[in-house]
């Protein structure tokens, strides 16, 4: 896919134009143009080291990109360039993420993990905390209710007061996603959510992703190696190899695309 002449941002949630990331000599990302349509599930696949997680880190502000732009349609429809924003600013604009290796707050309870997710949307400050006026108490209760309902809706009701580190692996993956949801995102970035899950846990995950897209009306950008999950859940698939985009298209087209097969399976 050649680089589009000019990088007009059609009405998509996220648009990167000519996004490049260079670490010293290594070109981790080479002029990547990525578009995530509203309410779509877009997948990003490619062999290990193709630069998928680096792309995620550029999007979420952990690494400032060397070249190119990132435009994001925030909650109220404004188009904002994410370039140079700190990770916490990016999250507050409505772009939440999960991590490749689970980064839960292991010594806090499940409910508290989700409550921390709501941090961006709460207003209580220092004085509110100290004097616990009615407004702060109301906000606390509202967000505890909100988090509790979120946990019930996504099947974590039983372990509300459990310590995050004591949950089963699948449940921890699920909690990380729910926690990301709590930040009220418009676009959810999932970094290999299915890694290490068994068959029925992956199916549960597929249902979860589909229900999230509809009930929380948000779009999803997914990095994943589990091909059958990717093939039957995503609308558009981007394939990356050595930092470059080598194919874009719907699942069935990508399945047959020679460049993709070569990248994955090597020469026939």
């Amino acid at each position: 896919m050649t680089e589009a002449a000019s990088c007009r941002p059609p009405d998509s949630v996220l648009k990167t134009c000519g996004l490049s990331m260079v670490f010293g000599g290594l070109v981790a990302l080479d002029r990547v143009d990525l578009t995530v349509e509203r309410h779509s599930i877009t997948a990003l696949i490619g062999p290990n080291g193709a630069g998928k997680t680096t792309l995620f880190n550029c999007l979420t502000g952990i690494y400032p990109p060397t070249r190119g732009s990132i435009t994001f349609e925030s909650g109220d429809g404004r188009k904002i360039s994410l370039k140079g924003l700190a990770p916490d600013r990016v999250t507050l604009l409505g772009l939440a993420r999960t991590f490749q290796n689970i980064r839960l707050f292991s010594n806090l309870t499940v409910l508290e993990n989700v409550l921390i997710g709501c941090h961006g949307r709460m207003r209580a400050g220092l004085l509110g905390a100290l004097f616990r006026d009615k407004k702060t108490r109301a906000e606390e209760k509202a967000f505890i209710d909100f988090s509790y309902d979120l946990l019930v809706r996504y099947g974590l009701k039983a372990s509300v007061n459990e310590l995050a580190k004591n949950l089963a692996y699948g449940a921890q993956r699920r909690l990380e996603i729910v926690r990301a949801l709590a930040t009220g995102p418009k676009l959810l970035l999932l970094d290999e959510p299915a890694a290490g899950l068994n068959i029925n846990e992956t199916n549960e995950l597929r249902e979860l992703i589909e229900t999230i897209r509809t009930s929380e009306n948000l779009s999803i950008l997914l990095i994943e190696h589990d091909m059958n999950l990717v093939m039957n859940v995503s609308h558009v698939i981007y394939v990356m190899d050595y930092g470059k985009l080598i194919a874009v298209g719907p699942p069935n087209e990508i399945r047959r695309n020679p460049a993709v097969i070569k990248a994955y399976l090597g020469e026939e």
Partner: protein, 302 residues
């Protein structure tokens, strides 16, 4: 001009004294990420043992003297310091291996208080006279003026210790095991490294260096008391971190920088503010380079 030179020499001496102790801190920290507060006390115990043996052997009964006395006393005090280090590790730190990182810190502090009072009660709280065991070496006049023989010996010993340690870490099997444990204790253990043995060896080496430090500094200061471990320990510890905790050359460079900073501050500003300048330099360096000079700045992999 010679004012600058004399400041330079005094900085060099002070730096090498801190280096000897700092090496102990860095090694222990590098392996099990523990700030061993009781290390200063090992240095003090080394000095006390050296004094006792020098009296025992140097006295009329045995009548050793000169280099033989110095070396035997050094060997014996190093042996005892190593035993103290080993025992301390077994009692205060080994049971806490799994616990959170702060638990061994507090037990190290407890151990330091214990050892300080142990020596004070068993021996004496007063200052004790420490004979200069280093025999007369006739130095060329120029050298003699700039630096007295004790400090010269200290410089040489520090240099030798640093080189020996770097060689040991780089080229011996145990050295490699230490580096493995420093990187990732669990993985090292899985690949057959006997964790407890490596840690004990680290403590022993650290203690031997501290004992040498105790002996040499005792000779240069001509006096010791149970409290010398605390101040020197804190300065050496700051030096170890300045150079990048965990790296051998870092400890020595950090110590030298601290030594020079103190000397020049005392010379050019005023010795009342000497310590303060040293600490301010430390803060500046650490804010600019969060991992210390040679340290691996711990960027967290996402």
């Amino acid at each position: 001009m010679d004012f600058f030179l004399s400041l330079f020499m005094s900085g060099l001496t002070k730096g090498s004294i801190y280096a000897l102790i700092a090496l102990g801190y860095t090694m222990v920290y590098g392996i099990i990420a523990l700030i061993n507060f009781a290390h200063g006390e090992i240095y003090m115990i080394g000095a006390f043992t050296a004094l006792i043996f020098s009296m025992l052997l140097g006295g009329p009964a045995v009548g050793m003297s000169g280099w033989t006395l110095l070396l035997t006393v050094a060997a014996l005090s190093a042996l005892y310091a190593a035993m103290y280090g080993w025992t301390m590790e077994k009692i205060a730190y080994q049971p806490l291996r799994g616990a959170s990182r702060l638990a061994p810190l507090i037990s190290a502090i407890g151990m330091s208080i214990f050892l300080q009072n142990y020596v004070q009660l068993v021996q004496t709280p007063n200052f004790l006279v420490f004979p200069d065991l280093i025999p007369q070496i006739d130095l060329p006049a120029a050298v003699a003026k700039a630096i007295n023989r004790t400090h010269l010996v200290i410089l040489i010993v520090t240099a030798v210790a640093m080189v020996a340690l770097t060689v040991f870490i780089k080229f011996t099997r145990m050295g490699m095991a230490m580096r493995a444990v420093a990187q990732d204790p669990i993985m090292a253990r899985l690949s057959g490294v006997k964790l407890d043995r490596v840690i004990s060896v680290t403590f022993v080496i650290g203690s031997v260096l501290a004992a040498l430090g105790g002996l040499l500094i005792g000779c240069s200061m001509r006096q010791i008391d149970f409290y010398i471990g605390f101040l020197a320990g804190m300065k050496a510890f700051t030096a170890a971190v300045l150079g990048g905790i965990g790296s051998i050359p870092g400890a020595v460079i950090g110590a030298l920088i601290l030594g020079f900073a103190e000397s020049f501050a005392a010379g050019y500003i005023s010795s009342s503010y000497k310590d303060m300048v040293a600490f301010i330099i430390l803060i500046i360096i650490l804010t600019l380079k969060p991992g210390g000079i040679f340290g691996t700045s711990q960027t967290q992999k996402v």
